[in-house]
Symmetry: C2
Subunit: 337 residues, 2 copies
């Protein structure tokens, strides 16, 4: 004999609607009642037929999450977590696909997600960049995280790179530094892709903070690294040979800051006593382990994932004009400034 919702309601001494709310993870059920209903469900080994319910309600309660890559920026996984926790609040679950940079895989991934009748899609890029997405995506609402469409035709959430550059520079100015070097991120693709949104925005923030303090922008204090440890270290040492050398380094990411530390150590300089250093990204596993621990700027991966999922849910009720939402990149103060 197949167990029904009525059997559960009777044994748990609740109404049919309460069982349904528990099954749908609806918040308006007391913890005690929920526990009682779940105990009966487990006792009866009951598993509701979700497929049947989807047929009736036309709602799959599934959302697709597609990423280009998840391995190069380890904390980008926080985007997955942010989106998942936001959807969880609304009783939705997330189908995750990492499609890589290959457009054919991206296309077939999305096709599979649409076949599952996902209610919408979050497309997340692992570094802040422009993306072009297959047209088939447009059958359901889409929100972009850490990326944007070239024509801004889709809603997106990105880091406020300008604010991040400003926050880093401002923290150094407040500690009395007047000669602040900026080792910015060079283009590792050697011109084959557009300039990095991160590099452009952070430079703008650096300039804004200097201007606000009435200081002239000195181009000799800005250098671009090819992002190799050797280049990061060499640039640091070269800039300290300037006739009016910097007393602080703002580094384009935490890896650059590690190379900067090496360069300073090789010259016998102490951090922060002789020279201050600020990074960018807040790869905590690295920043907390550096010695001294690195003051850096947070890339808001968790917040971007959460915003994208929350916004996606609002798009189901009514369409909105596409917006680009920027999330602040706050300073994470440790011991290097």
């Amino acid at each position: 004999m197949k167990t029904t919702i009525d059997d559960i309601a009777r044994l748990a001494q609740v109404g049919r609607g309460t069982v349904s709310r528990v099954l749908n993870n609806h918040p308006a059920v007391s913890d005690e009642t929920r526990a009682r209903v779940l105990a009966v469900i487990e006792q009866l080994n009951y598993s509701p037929n979700f497929s049947a319910r989807h047929m009736r309600t036309e709602s799959s309660n599934l959302v697709g999450f597609v990423t280009d890559e998840v391995t190069t920026t380890p904390y980008a996984v926080d985007m997955i977590r942010g989106a998942q926790e936001a959807l969880w609040q609304q009783g939705k679950m997330m189908l995750v696909v990492s499609a890589g940079y290959d457009s054919e895989t991206t296309r077939s991934s999305m096709e599979m997600l649409l076949q599952r009748r996902v209610e919408g899609l979050v497309y997340a890029a692992m570094f802040h960049r422009m993306v072009e997405l297959p047209a088939q995506l447009m059958r359901v609402p889409v929100v972009l995280a850490n990326c944007f469409a070239g024509d801004y035709s889709l809603p997106s959430v990105v880091p406020d790179e300008i604010a991040g550059g400003y926050n880093a520079t401002r923290a150094l100015l407040e500690r009395g530094h007047r000669r602040i070097a900026f080792i910015n991120l060079g283009d590792p693709w050697d011109g084959r892709l557009p300039p990095l949104a991160a590099a452009q925005g952070r430079l703008e923030g650096y300039r804004q903070a200097l201007a606000e303090s009435g200081m002239a922008f000195d181009p000799s204090l800005v250098r671009y690294t090819d992002q190799s440890p050797k280049d990061n270290s060499n640039i640091t040492r070269a800039m300290l040979q300037l006739s009016d050398p910097p007393t602080a380094f703002f580094c384009g990411n935490d890896r650059t800051a590690m190379g900067c530390y090496s360069g300073l150590a090789a010259m016998g300089l102490r951090i922060p006593h002789d020279v201050a250093v600020v990074g960018f990204d807040n790869l905590t596993v690295m920043a907390e382990t550096m010695y001294p621990a690195l003051t850096t700027v947070q890339l808001p991966h968790y917040a971007m994932g959460k915003w994208a999922a929350d916004y996606l849910m609002t798009l189901q009720d009514q369409p909105h004009p596409p917006i680009q939402y920027k999330i602040d990149c706050p300073l994470v103060l440790r011991e290097s400034i």
Copy 2:
């Protein structure tokens, strides 16, 4: 008029079965045919009703992936990628839930996955440990990744920690080192949890490699770190004060190796000229950035995720006795030895 599979077959000039195989992502379709069918599907804006299909076939083609945490060990996300790519090959998709360490959230996450009629579950832990899982899990096949059940009642895949410890020590012995310090991972929970599987296995591997070379085990060369940067650095310096100091350090993880680098730099010692260093984990973002680049041991996250998903699929055809499969942790040679 609703589009049907017959409409697509006619326009794409293929049989009904071919359309079905393309929709199911079956490999036995040529790229050219697949592209033609997909083009028609897009043109007609067709989306097959998967819910209806599930009702008929009793197969959801969904697998659940539950993690305790994804944030502390950044490369653990490679487990998600490994599992997803393996399932993708079989036309399955993955519902990902990070449930944290809270047993109630884990329980309700799994309940939701079972309601979706997942065909099986992978439970992945972010560090190698024993887990206790809710009984409700056992309604579908389960495979554990990077963890194991206390009574070994579930199949699991874990890193071969002994092989990892052996590989690290062996590499140093082969380069002529005879005094090899081992900074092992201390128990950050201060006895509230069982000893770390990683620490036990790696010590065993260290001892095996020494014994194989006919060398006595010297307890004064093994120390346990509380995993803080300060302790890592201090232990390094203290061991170099021994009357017969080590010429090489095997560090329990890459973060420990960073602290070891700091300790060596503070004493004016060069790596690898004066002292060799090997880490464990292969957090590439960190190991490649350290100066010199860190030789370390790979934690096989991608391979564990892939194995767990592949093995889960075999469990659907027929039940197997639970096994524990161990995956090698190979040396990743860079510049620090």
